[in-house]
Symmetry: C2
Subunit: 233 residues, 2 copies
């Protein structure tokens, strides 16, 4: 069993890109996986390609999965993305942009890839601070997945086991941005908007844009993002 | 929350087809899900369609997923399927036909579908007796998945929770066949072979054919399967 390879889930947003930079800084050999899951915008996928390239990742697997046929989320079905919500509104309840069981599906694929590549770690940029409403971003979910993963796999039964690392779980967005900036991550390559106007141009009003803006403002790092609407946060 | 709908994973083999018959006998509204996961034979998928039809299932979701790009299994990559092995050989170690994290991926999709359809049960035909070598068929895996699923989802956090039912876990193949026969399941529609000669014609020598033959022999039910090789079991 090779013990120096890790799988990293990369969407192209701030959290997963920073998580990739952390894994890279630990000197691991990396296999990066990005999902084309029928999201309404492809900017995320372009961002993931650019970020992986900027960190010299050689093994980048793109997995096409179709969650649109299941419906029930503003990110994959024709439901209106909420705009201009306050920080308090964003932090309350499970948002409409929640994609059912998304992180479970992503981690399940990462687990298959870990078995195939003989990797013993999976990094995910799950964060429980800004997105407290997503049940599958919480540390108790990550721990339960890790336990299940070690009962599900050859690596868990016969090998050294699989660890699920979510290094950003308890970081605020500002702390994440400060950490990534120390690691020389180029945030102009990342993309967060739920409802972009065109490739690389963010709406500036959706929950994800508002959280991103506030994160940069609080971090003291200059925000390199191109927004259409310059709402104050 | 509707509490009378269940998701059933259906491959078209004996175990999942019997599990569907059990769920049906409980009077639930059913959503059946079948995966086209790049397996080398499509007979399974045809069998699944026929079985679901014979049980009057109205909501049958086909999900295409590509595990071939991950490699590392005789069922999805060009590795030779073992033939003519003894019951003892079949029961030892993790077989080459193991697909990494397959049940984890299947259950993750079923979980997404359960959220989308507001179902509160997922039925899976996992069996720990004949396939003791597959880590993700064991009851401890199913229990760990259920625990994780309830931390991952809206249903787990805000609703009535999700139960993962694996009613055949501790049944022998003969017991499964006897139960399905009592439920009037037509086993001539099911398909098990790992290496079929053509649609509906089983090799008769792979582990799956040998387990199937032995199951029918021990159950006392006439085996309706068309095998090329009539190896004694």
């Amino acid at each position: 069993m090779k013990t120096d390879r890790a799988i990293v889930l990369l969407s192209g947003g701030i959290d997963s890109s920073t998580t990739l930079a952390i894994a890279k800084s630990q000197g691991k050999q990396l296999t990066v996986v990005t999902f084309d899951y029928g999201q309404r915008h492809k900017c995320e996928i372009n961002a993931a390609r650019n970020i992986a390239g900027s960190l010299n990742v050689e093994d980048h697997v793109m997995v096409k999965i179709d969650l649109r046929q299941f419906g029930n989320s503003a990110l994959t079905a024709p439901i209106k993305v909420p705009k201009g919500r306050s920080a308090r509104e964003i932090g309350t309840g499970i948002p409409i942009t929640y994609v059912p069981a998304r992180n479970t599906i992503f981690l399940a694929y990462a687990l298959a890839l870990a078995e195939a590549r003989q990797a013993n770690k999976i990094f995910i940029g799950a964060n429980a601070v800004d997105y407290s409403g997503y049940p599958d971003c919480r540390p108790e979910f990550i721990q339960a997945f890790e336990k299940m993963a070690n009962l599900a796999t050859k690596a868990g039964i016969e090998g050294n086991g699989i660890a699920i690392e979510a290094p950003l779980t308890n970081f605020s967005k500002a702390e994440i941005i400060k950490l990534g900036t120390e690691l020389k991550l180029d945030y102009s390559l990342t993309f967060s908007c739920y409802d972009p106007i065109e490739d690389g141009l963010s709406c500036g009003e959706c929950d994800s844009c508002l959280i991103r803006k506030r994160g940069f403002a609080e971090s003291g790092v200059t925000d390199p993002t191109r927004y259409v609407i310059k709402l104050k946060v």
